[in-house]
Structure formats: C-alpha cells, structure tokens
Symmetry: C2
Subunit: 429 residues, 2 copies
C-alpha cells in the first residue's frame, strides 16, 4: 500500500470512530482514559525499549544532549504521563454543555449545545509525552485524533499509540479514535493538510516555520499556536521594583517557552532610572540584552540590536530592548514586531493600564504581572492543548471547551414558518 | 497603479481604520450607522442612477428578468436598506462583553473580553443590499470590512461604498473602515484570499462553487457559509398531519434559500400511509419529487432519483425523497449526502428525537419544526451575516458576537511566576 492509501485508511478509521465517540457521555470516556493510564504504566518496559531506538538514532545523528533529554522516556516520566491522563479524566466534560438557550416568541425551544469538533489532526515536534497528552484531551472532548509527531520520536510514538489503542479496545471508546499518521516523510504531513472533509481541524504545535507551512498549505481549517514574541512595557508611571521583578521573571524563569518575554520597552521618562538597574538585574540572571541606541548608552554589556532582533522569538537567555517616547509608541512597536501572544505593561497609572489593554491587540494582555501566566494550567483550565495566537475560534490558552464546536437544537410541535422574508434571510443568495 | 497595488492600498487603509475602530465604544459607532442610513436615503437618486448602469448591462447581457429584479434598487428598497442599518445601530454591541472571568488562586484578576476580529473580507454574489448590510454589521462589531461583491453589481457597489465613506467622514468612525475591493477580475478575489496578516477572516457568501474555491485557495482563515442540503426525516412515530405541514413548509415556503429542505426521508413503517398524501400535498404546492424506487411506487408523478439528486441543493421547487428502514439509516443518509446545515425529524417519540438530535452532526437539528427556522432573525439575533456550516469559530446563524474574537486580560500587583513547569506549559516545544 502507498503512504497515501495508508493515510486514508487511518483517517477513515478516525472518522468512523469519531461518529461513535461524539454522542458518548462522560462516564465511559473517563473510564477509558483511566484504562489507558494504567496500560501505559503497565507497558513501561515496552515504551522505554521503543524510546531507546529513538534516543540511539538521535545520538548517532549527533543531536545535542539537551534535545536527547527532551526525547527520553523513563519509568518516572511515563508515570507522570499516565498521571496527566488521569487528571484529564477528572476534568469536567465540555460536551453537552448548553451554551445558550431560550424559548422563542413562537414557542420554539432553542438551545445551543457543545459538541465535539470531530477529527482533530495534531502536528507536533519534540517530546513524545505530547502524543499521550493530546490524545487524552481529544478523547475527553469526544474527538478522534490523528497524531503526526516528530520523526525523531517515531518509534516511541508507534509504541505509545499501539498501547493506547489496545487499552481502548477493552473499553467502550472505539480504539480507532487514536491514530498515528503513518510515514516519516514530509508527504505524510501533506496528506493530513489536504484531508478536508476527513479532518475537521489541524493544530500545529512547534516552531514558527512548521506553523507557517501548515497555515500556507492546509485546506483543513487550522488553529495557529504558540509563537510568542512577548513584550514587557515599563511605563513612565511604573514602580521600579515591580518592573524589575516582572521583567526578570518574564525573561528568565523559563526562557524556552512561548510566554517568556523576548523584548522589553521602557518609557523615556523613566529609562535613566530604570535601565541601569534592569541591565544589572538581567546580567545577574545570565541574560544578554540586545538594545537600541538609547539602551546601549546605559550599559557596557548591551549588544546593539538590529531590526531583526525585535522580530525574533529567542527562546533563550537573550532579550531585545528599546526606549520609547510614549505608551502609544510602545503599542505601535508591539503591533509591528509582536506575535499577538502576550504583552505586559508595568504601571501605577489606571489610565495607562486602561489604554494599553484596550489598544494592544494580543491574545493576552497583562497588567503588573509576568507574561508567564498565559497558560492553561495557570488560568485554571486544568489542561491545555496549546496557545492560539489567531483570532478565529479560540484565542489564548486552549482547554477542553476550545476542542468543541456547537450545534443548535430547536424543538417545536409542528412549527412552520409563515413570516415573510427578512433582510437576514440567507442574504446574498 | 496595478490592481495588486490598488488592492494593497485599500487593505492597508482598512487595517489602519480597524486599529482606530477596535477600541471604540458603542455610542460613536451607533451614531455613525445612523448617519450612514440617512446618507443612503438622501442619495437615493445617485444610487438609482448607478444601479441603472448595472441593470442595463445585465439586460444587454441577456440576464433573466428574475435575476435583474434581484439586482434592481429603487427608492423603496433603498429606504429598507437604510432601515436595516438603523436596526443594526439599535442592537447591543458585542465588543467589551466579559465572556468569562475569575480571580485566580494567586490573586490575579482574569477576564476574557470580546474584541473585534479586525479586518473582515466578504465575498458575495447577487443583491447590492448585502454591500450595506455587511458593512453595517462589521462596523457595529468594531471591524473594518473589505467588500468584494458581484461584478454584476459593481456600479451600484461603487456608489454605495462611496456614500457610506462620505457619511463616515462626518463621524468619529474612520471612513477607511468600509472598502470596496477594486477590480472586477478573478484576480481581485485572489488578492483578498492571499492577504494573510492584512485580513483576519474571509466570509464567502454565495453558491457552493464560490465557497469551495475560496476554501481551497485562501490562506486567510475562512468561515464557510450557506450551502444547505437540508433534510426532513419522517419517523415511524410521526404525526402524519404535522409531517405534511412541516414538509411542505420546509420545501415550498421559500425554495430559493439555504434553509429550505432538499430531501425528505420517510420510515418504511409509515411510508405506505404517508407517501400518497405527501406526494399529493407537494404536487399541490408545485413541487416535483425525485424519488428512489420505493418512493416511485407511490405516485405516478415521481421522477426517478439518481444518486446525484440526493447530493443536490436544488434551491427550486424540487425535492429528493427516499424510504429508509430505520432512524439510523436516515442519519446515515444525512451524514452521506447532507451539507450539515439543518436537518429535521418529525416524531412523537421522545427516544427518536433524542437519538436524532444526538447523532445528526449538523449546525442545526430541528424536532417537529420546519428547517426554515434556522435563521439569525428567527433565532432572535436581530441580524445575520450568514449561516456557518463549518465547525470552527461559529456554527449556524452568525450574528454580531460571531464577528468578534476575545482577548484575555489579567491584572496583578507585581505577580511573578514561581511555579515549576507543568505538563501543559507550552507543551511540545
């Protein structure tokens, strides 16, 4: 069989499973997730053996040890993965929630109810734990899932999906609801991106180039996630101590993640007081500052920033910096260079906070708080499939409700329509 | 200037206007809409003259009189268009609505607030009233709009957009918020479809081929609207009188719209009793029935249905019909041939209604009611930009809130994050 045929086989299997899974209530889904969690722990040796193949191949290929560590699975990590599945089982089920409803003037009973999206395709890089996390979140929200992980974790992913499918086969949830996209080539990603009608939504998780290529090529609707060029703006009215703490935390607490700060902007009125202390504090935290001309004057260690620095998501202990003459200039800078993920203002001024939150057009805007709080766990969602940086469907951290659509149900007693055509009536046709 | 440069000019103007419009509160937007309504009425002669150019061209081109009538604008129709704009001004503003919010355990105050999408592109066919309707709905929801109407209405649309822009120039709403995409060629649509970053969402309104081509080619996120292959399923437990009334209403009350029924299915147990009466009632209403073999036996006037009939959105006084052996067979038929717009069941059985609403995966599911009620006006939205048949972002009739996104705002007092990495923390990176 060709890779294309292989793909169609698993996609149709997922579609069929989705049909069975969609109307399923919470209890059998939770039971199935707990069976999956137990099965993963029971299969620890098998998973570790499969993972060793990936780790050996990575090492032979000269992959850096830090990356190999991200790839590695051991008994402790597998136990944590299984525990995360049990936590998903404990979360409320978004499916069936009545979002809106009313009795219309004519007596029709109308309600809008959450339903699963159907089949979700997830394209991701890196750690094999995502294979299980994503599958658990999709199952819980009544969706079948097509997983397309990194080729570097292919052996691990084959083992994990096989174990999950075997576990599901002992439950009411159809085993076909979790599928690995077969193949390692770029073609196998293309099959997924062109599977309109079979796949309801694609969620790419990873670097900017992966996400851009999916957005460009996919005919399946896409939810963009994760690119985070986040800013901290230190206003003229900022409390200096607060600004220092937030800046260092936003940059250095965990620099490799999407909600870490990549640029800070400081109002000219406070730059003279703030910058020497900020540069010192960042240096203490091991951070290299790439500053514009007005920043460079305040410290010997500042690397002159190029235009590109302001557009870069470093994901490292580097930060770009600029002095701005007004809050509006800060907002304009963020609009120009940012990725509309999370941007923060530090200020004591209510007016400045109000203007910043109203005019910065990002998924999240923080006032006197670190950008690092933009996270499904921190927001109390209990789980997160990614952070959407697009405006359609979901924006910001995506929990279980963001993996659903809705359906309108209306009930009458022989209601027929006799009203004349309205301006809204399928207008345009 | 080339058409591409012309397009970029209006798209950038719309983008700039969107930035000003987005944080604007309700009052100035409503005022602007009322100014626009008055300006349209005041410019009746100018609009009628521009429209006459389109009407003459259509007539010379041999366009059918029914289509020419859809295109024609007169004083009465212009007054109605203006009145619809005033009605939009009277609707609540979705922007600024707090959708969710809480104080997190650490004291961060978190809220999710509705914000405009930004720049909305609308591609539509037919009637020039859509030019004004769509502009009013976009402005009210804080969005700039790029309008790409039918070339058959190009003169009318130029006049309408010019009048709206001139009216807006006398208000606080930037005149650039309403833009006509320049040019008449298919290329001008392509510019819109490739304007990722400048345009936030595209809404195609029209026939299936328009919508499919936009979905295939657009890199801008798309909301699919309007294709309606709607079904009426007459269950074994249906009340015959109710079923007849609903069937005739769903098909014949207004056959040219997307929520009209295009197929009816009848359970074998009731077919013998129902079909002769249904065929007679449909004949009386001027409807041609295209039936499968089991339907053909019940009436001399039934045209034998081909496979294609069941997949067709007639939008005329035609309906396909089939006998099914069970509710599940009816659902399977709808899943195979339907467009996931609206499907209805007629039944006295609570169990059948429950199973049908749970397993039919459509934007709207009706119980003992005509499919014709799937409409923003009927649902009480006050206005409708279209009916989404996709699952992402919006499903079913789209009112003003469906033209918005959300933004998370969190406020602290120097909050920094010290929690360790969680499983959800930008997972996959």
């Amino acid at each position: 069989m060709s890779e294309a045929e292989d793909f169609l086989k698993v996609a149709h299997a997922a579609r069929e499973a989705a049909t069975v899974l969609a109307p399923m209530p919470r209890a059998p889904k939770d039971t199935a997730l707990r069976v999956v969690a137990d099965a993963l722990v029971a299969a620890t040796d098998e998973i570790v053996a499969a993972n060793a193949v990936d780790v050996d191949r990575a090492r032979e290929g000269g992959t850096a040890e830090a990356m190999i560590d991200r790839l590695r699975l051991d008994a402790d990590r597998i136990a944590k993965i299984a525990e995360a599945v049990r936590q998903v089982a404990d979360l409320p089920d978004p499916v069936g929630e009545v979002v809106r409803g009313s009795t219309l003037p004519n007596g029709l009973e109308l309600r809008q109810v959450r339903v699963p999206l159907g089949v979700i395709g997830i394209i991701y890089e890196g750690r094999p734990n995502v294979t299980v996390d994503a599958a658990a979140l999709c199952l819980k929200s009544g969706n079948a899932v097509l997983l397309r992980g990194s080729s570097s974790a292919y052996s691990s992913n084959i083992a994990l999906v096989k174990i999950m499918q075997e576990a599901l086969a002992r439950t009411d949830v159809p085993a076909g609801a979790v599928q690995l996209v077969p193949g390692l080539t770029r073609e196998s990603v293309k099959h997924l991106m062109r599977a309109r009608g079979l796949v309801d939504v694609l969620i790419p998780r990873g670097g900017a180039s992966l996400i851009n290529s999916v957005v460009e090529e996919s005919t399946v609707p896409v939810i963009e996630t994760g690119t985070g060029n986040c800013h901290v703006y230190v206003d003229a009215d900022a409390d200096i101590e607060t600004a220092l703490e937030i800046l260092v935390n936003a940059k250095a607490q965990r620099p490799s993640v999407c909600n870490a700060a990549e640029t800070f902007l400081v109002h000219a009125a406070i730059a003279g007081e703030f910058l020497p202390r900020a540069l010192a504090a960042l240096k203490d935290a091991g951070v290299t500052v790439h500053g514009d001309e007005r920043v460079c004057g305040h410290g010997a260690d500042v690397v002159p920033a190029t235009e590109e620095d302001f557009a870069t998501e470093y994901l490292s202990l580097d930060i770009a910096a600029a002095v701005v003459d007004s809050l509006d200039d800060a907002v304009a800078h963020i609009r120009r260079y940012g990725s509309a993920h999370t941007d923060a203002i530090v200020t004591r001024s209510q007016g400045a906070a109000r203007r910043f939150t109203a005019t910065v057009d990002s998924a999240a805007v923080a006032v006197n708080a670190s950008t690092r709080f933009t996270d499904g766990g921190e927001f109390g969602f209990g789980a997160e499939i990614g952070i959407s940086t697009q405006k359609l469907h979901a924006r910001g951290p995506m929990g279980l409700p963001e993996l659903t659509s809705t359906k309108w149900i209306y009930t009458g007693e022989g209601h027929v329509r006799d009203s004349p055509r309205t301006v809204t009536d399928c207008a345009g046709r």
